[in-house]
């Protein structure tokens, strides 16, 4: 088994934290995103989308999606559970993870990729080129501001993002908030619940992954 990673990138960090929480280590290959290694023919043969993370099995088949990779390890090593403990909890964790990703992670990405010079023709990850849209960089920032407010409200009466247990929804939210630092947006002063939660999850050893 082989894990294609890039230690500076937010998407593979979601998997790294997940693995750290479960105490799993996987042989890892670093992909140099800064110097465009993801666009080389060699890496395109691994993942035509040119993205990390990728998990490669010994027979050569691969999973090229962060949540898909986490899904695999949740099944092969269920403890501690990070995707819910029964049917209703699994549904809730799924919902909360997807909300954090859609309204938070993708919003930061929208602001970042539509603004940063290096992504001029790469406003979306994947195999195809898309030009930056300046109005989208601005909309991304509005969405992140709204995300902070909503996330804060959700944590007012809840220890973690999906209830009383630390889950993959917390991982997505944590990575999103650190990613927001790339566009110079940080948790606003008034978001005291979000701040309390952020300090707690950031203090877990897995946050260093």
């Amino acid at each position: 088994m082989k894990f294609y990673d890039c230690t500076t990138a937010p998407s593979p960090r979601r998997v790294r934290i997940f693995l750290a929480e479960k105490g799993i280590t996987v042989p890892t290959v670093q992909v140099d995103l800064r110097n465009g290694e993801q666009f080389t023919p060699a890496f395109r043969a691994v993942n035509p989308d040119g993205t990390v993370p990728v998990l490669e099995f010994d027979d050569g088949s691969r999973i090229t999606d962060a949540i898909g990779i986490c899904r695999y390890f949740e099944d092969t090593q269920p403890q501690p559970p990070l995707m819910g403990v029964d049917a209703r909890d699994k549904a809730l964790v799924t919902e909360k993870q997807r909300q954090a990703e859609r309204d938070g992670f993708y919003a930061v990405m929208e602001a970042f990729r539509n603004h940063t010079r290096a992504f001029k023709t790469k406003a979306l990850p994947g195999a195809f080129d898309y030009e930056q849209i300046p109005a989208l960089a601005e909309r991304g920032r509005q969405r992140v501001a709204n995300f902070f407010t909503t996330a804060n409200a959700g944590l007012a009466d809840s220890e973690f993002v999906a209830g009383a247990r630390y889950t993959i929804a917390d991982i997505t939210m944590l990575v999103t908030i650190d990613f927001a630092g790339w566009i110079k947006m940080t948790i606003p002063e008034h978001c005291t619940h979000l701040r309390r939660w952020y300090d707690a999850v950031s203090a877990r050893p897995s946050a260093k992954a």
Copy 2:
């Protein structure tokens, strides 16, 4: 248990097809999206995001995400499995469902909502208003065209989207392609594998859901 639905909308259709494949029926309430019922205080109390589908349990708690709802029914009624049969298959189905959603479903939504007059300040679903961005409507159409090509290639050697079994990844792809009709985009002539697959999954009784 209660299912908040809108028979004309693509997002809840994903759940309806999923339930039809499993032979599950749930008491259903129709939400009149065309006349703005989703923005009424009564429905905002059900789901602050103002979106369907929503699954409400008898204790009043709710799941407000299509895939979260499917996750619940996969666990409570595992047969037939629609989210994978073992660890690697579950990972693959997760990946393929998410690719179809991200590169297909969201692309159609981007093109549709940034163009259609009724969505002038509702370019994204959810609690917050976002103005339309005309360049985004155009980008959405480019993404859908690229999605058709990629989806076609993926089905060249595969009966279904995630291999030899019908799964939730097929449901997302089917709903996406029918949703693309709303922006007047249909499967291109050269996409013969996608057409073969589309005709097969559309002929299943669940496609009428």
